[in-house]
Amino acid sequence: MSLRFQHAIVVGASSGIGAEIARQLAADGASVAIVGRRVTELEAVAAGIRSAGKGKVLVAPHDVTQYDSAPPLFEKLVADLGGLDLVVYAAGNIFVPAESEYDFAKDRAMIEVQVIGAMAWTHLAAAHFEAQRSGTIVGLSSIAGERGRRTMPGYTTAKAALSAWLEALRNRVSRYGVNVVTVKLGFVDTIMTAKLTKKPMMISAQKAADSILATARRGGSPSAFIPGQWGLVGMIIRSIPSAIFRRLDL
């Protein structure tokens, strides 16, 4: 089975993986609504898509932490796109505290963007797709969500919660023909990871987007590591006993 996406919403599309997913969908002929906080960047992504001259693009400025504005915007986009078969939630942020730094506001922001924002948008998508008996929801999670890590506590918590949420959603709506895809990424070369120091097995945003869409098109509600080697890393990381894990600087 290979799904073909024709009407998509990409949340968090002003840069990085989200922007690249939007470009690739449009290049494949889809109509894409790009949702994001930074209007200038969104417009630039839209201009790039338009100049490529393939699929239609709609620009929808929106802050994912303004949860109450998600439902009316979602409805408007579905109407403007003329249907919906794919929602990608790619909004992300990262904060790595220094040793002995405790910053609740920054950790909270990650939960708000990556967990609560994802719940707001995927609730809408899941209801729409359940009624429609088809559709794909893609959430961008991370290998980081496999364990709670001392170097990025808020981020690993947000990704663990996002992975759990997507799994719950999958268990809820896959029986109605809805394809819920969790992608657990390693390091991807974007502005979000620019400040990180160690970035093993890093891939480009183009490569990440390509793999994410290929995984989504296969259907069957998968949860997949991208690239696949991270699956092995995940298995090892999950199996390290806590008494040892707490001594590592991961």
Partner: protein
């Protein structure tokens, strides 16, 4: 509710009883008249379409409202009063037929009109003006309603009776919930002496025999319902069974008084040894053309055992609520669900029209798994399906390639219109606005005038209302 309904109301995927139509709606459950009035006011301010929903027993899109606000009436489901001396009961719109009979029966009262299931709410029964197996004799549900409270878009309450605001009363019954929120229903129940009915099954070898059987028995029967084997062809076209049921007096059935106890009115806990809740799983392998041909054939041949004794006594619940025997039976149709197409044809054209309809289904290779036949009588409600004629309800599984079913339904609609028949929105999900207008003519025009005066901005709507041209096509007005 804090925040706007548009932004913060919870969502629900709602389906029609046939499981073949779905919509995503904002859904809220008010618990009081004040909450309801506040919701209407807020929905009006936010330009959200409002629909009403009870237990979701309408087969099609009557309780669906894509993108709008569905108000679930089950938060207001109390029986407000019951007078055992007169049999008058008052209840909120979310109270069900079950609540009504359970209240009345211990005192020797049964609703004059019940549908084939006890789960519909009074709000739904009023909005659809439902009918029962005794429609030929006692008319539809509305004929036993003596008073209604209707909440208009501004939150105001109007008490309607036949005498006071009679036209609005006659428009609200069968009004599809499009004139306002029914918040109170006063209903007259029927005095009965026994908790049982005397039931007589009669086999009818042809459709003509079924009509004749009804005509012969109507003057003396309390209930008459026909079942048709829609697979039968040729000379056997329309063969089936008629069940006649009559009230019995305490003298005729001395033990029947003890059956007024609701505890003695239960449905059997199992069907042929299978617990009721699991039966639909056993039905599933038969829910296809071949299996249903077999089931219909057996059903036609089986009742000979009854005929030797002629009649048997059966509790009101067991006789009335056939659809409740197998919980979740609609699941047997699978995820694509089923539709019901109920033809209502005038007396003069019904014999010919129904034979044509059955033959047409067979010609198109789309055969109903269940055919139910009833006699109706005209009534006074503006949008009522009631007529001096007959109805044939056909249940069709929605096939994986549904186009031929939709094509057949369009042909059936043309047949109904040619025959001068009517449509029943509680069942329908097929008919288009032009056909509906053709069937209801000036009655529809008058209804729309009343709606315009009561609800000028079109607050009350539904997927059905938009399909039938009773409300603007796009939400947001």
């Amino acid at each position: 509710m804090s925040g706007s309904l548009r932004s913060t109301a919870p969502w629900r995927v709602l389906d029609g009883f046939g499981s073949s139509r779905r919509a995503v709606s904002r859904c809220v459950t008010p618990r009081s008249l004040e909450e309801l009035a506040a919701l209407l006011k807020q929905a009006h301010q936010e330009r959200l379409h409002v629909s009403f929903r009870g237990n979701g027993r309408s087969y099609g899109d009557a309780s669906l409202n894509q993108g709008g606000l569905a108000i679930d009436n089950r938060g207001m489901a109390r029986v407000l009063s019951f007078d055992p001396g007169t049999g008058v009961i008052e209840a909120q719109p979310g109270a069900t037929i079950e609540d009504i009979w359970r209240t009345g029966l211990p005192h020797g009262y049964w609703p004059h009109v019940v549908p084939g299931t006890m789960h519909p709410t009074l709000g739904g029964c009023v909005a659809m003006n439902i009918h029962g197996k005794n429609c030929f004799k006692v008319g539809p549900f509305g004929d036993h309603v003596s008073e209604l409270d209707l909440m208009t878009p501004d939150g105001g309450l109007r008490t309607l009776t036949r005498e006071h605001e009679g036209e609005l009363f006659r428009a609200t019954i069968a009004g599809l919930g499009l004139l306002g929120a029914v918040t109170r229903v006063k209903l007259q129940l029927k005095k009965i002496e026994s908790g049982r009915l005397r039931v007589r099954p009669i086999r009818t070898r042809t459709l003509g025999e079924m009509f004749d059987c009804f005509v012969e028995r109507m003057p003396n029967a309390d209930y008459l319902v026909g079942w048709l084997d829609c697979f039968a062809t040729g000379a056997a076209l329309g063969r089936g069974l008629v069940h006649q049921a009559d009230y019995v007096s305490a003298a005729e059935d001395p033990q029947g008084v003890s059956h007024l106890d609701p505890a003695r009115q239960g449905l059997p806990p199992s069907v042929m040894g299978v617990p009721r809740s699991l039966v639909w799983r056993f039905m599933k392998p038969f829910t296809n053309d071949l299996g249903m041909r077999l089931v219909n054939d057996i059903k036609y041949r089986l009742p000979e055992t009854f005929e030797s004794s002629g009649t048997f006594l059966e509790g009101h619940v067991a006789f009335a609520f056939l659809l409740d025997y197998v919980p979740n039976w609609r699941n047997a149709y699978g995820d694509a669900g089923f539709i019901q197409y109920q033809l209502f044809l005038p007396d003069a054209t019904a014999r010919k029209g129904m034979a044509e309809a059955l033959a047409l289904c067979q010609k198109r290779g789309v055969i109903s798994y269940l055919g139910v036949f009833k006699r109706h009588r005209p009534d006074e409600y503006l949008l009522s399906h009631g007529l001096d004629g007959w109805s044939l309800a056909l249940d069709f599984a929605v096939p994986s390639q549904p186009q031929r079913l939709w094509d057949l339904c369009r042909e059936l609609t043309a047949l109904v219109l040619d025959a001068g028949g009517t449509f029943y929105p509680a069942k329908d999900q097929i008919v288009d606005a032009a056909s509906f207008a053709q069937a209801f003519g000036p009655r529809l025009e008058r209804f729309l005038e009343l709606k315009q005066s009561l609800d000028p901005e079109g607050l009350f709507s539904s997927d059905l209302a938009r399909r039938l041209g009773l409300a603007p096509a796009t939400p947001g007005r």
